[in-house]
């Protein structure tokens, strides 16, 4: 018998955590979008929901990272680097273009872009190490 934890359990935990992350991020985004259209008492409630969604997203992301092996951690590290550099280049480009009257991009768009680039990086580098 192996003294390692059963890998199937870890794989399932990884999948669940990633699904929960995307779901929480979606709930957070939807709440932030809806909150902008509401009046004060209801708006506060929806903003609390958004914060809870964001907290859940962070928790599930950390849970996802804990359930990975060394190759998956390397894939994740590369995906995060890819997302960081991509977002940095995008932010600098948008900041520069705004000097010439380009439409401003909301702070929320930047974080959404980072999640999209990270997901893209995960797919890209998983394929690279397959």
């Amino acid at each position: 018998m192996s003294d390692q934890p059963p890998r199937n359990g870890l794989a399932r935990s990884r999948k669940t955590s990633l699904s929960l992350f995307y779901l929480s991020a979606l709930v957070c985004a939807a709440c932030l979008d809806i909150a902008g259209k509401l009046q004060l008492p209801a708006r506060r409630l929806v903003l609390v929901l958004a914060i809870l969604g964001a907290a859940c997203a962070v928790w599930s992301l950390l849970r996802f990272l804990r359930a990975t092996d060394e190759r998956e951690r390397q894939i994740n590290y590369r995906a995060l680097s890819f997302a960081f550099v991509g977002t940095l280049v995008f932010s600098l480009t948008i900041g520069f273009l705004q000097r010439f009257g380009f439409h401003p991009v909301s702070w929320f768009g930047i974080s959404a872009l980072m999640v999209v680039l990270w997901s893209l990086g995960l797919i890209l580098f998983s394929w690279r190490y397959r």
Partner: protein
């Protein structure tokens, strides 16, 4: 780095999933090591060698032709 992992696994009649379960990694990681797409770290290399009852050198072979040239 070259590896005898596939041969050793075949001798033990283990599937990739079974070996992955024994060393506590994903099946894809075992596949990536066998196909040379990924070089395992020291800890994983020792774990793999241990489940076969071999030394690291008997499972993984250093291929000098793949090493980067020394800097001047």
């Amino acid at each position: 780095m070259k590896t005898r992992l596939r041969v050793l696994r075949a001798e033990m009649e283990w599937s990739q999933a079974e070996l992955a379960s024994r060393v506590g990694v994903a099946r894809g990681t075992i596949n990536a090591i066998e196909t040379g797409k990924y070089d395992p770290g020291l800890l994983l290399a020792f774990k793999i060698a241990r489940v076969f009852g071999k030394t690291v050198e008997e499972v993984f072979l250093y291929d000098q032709s793949q090493a980067p040239p020394p800097s001047q």
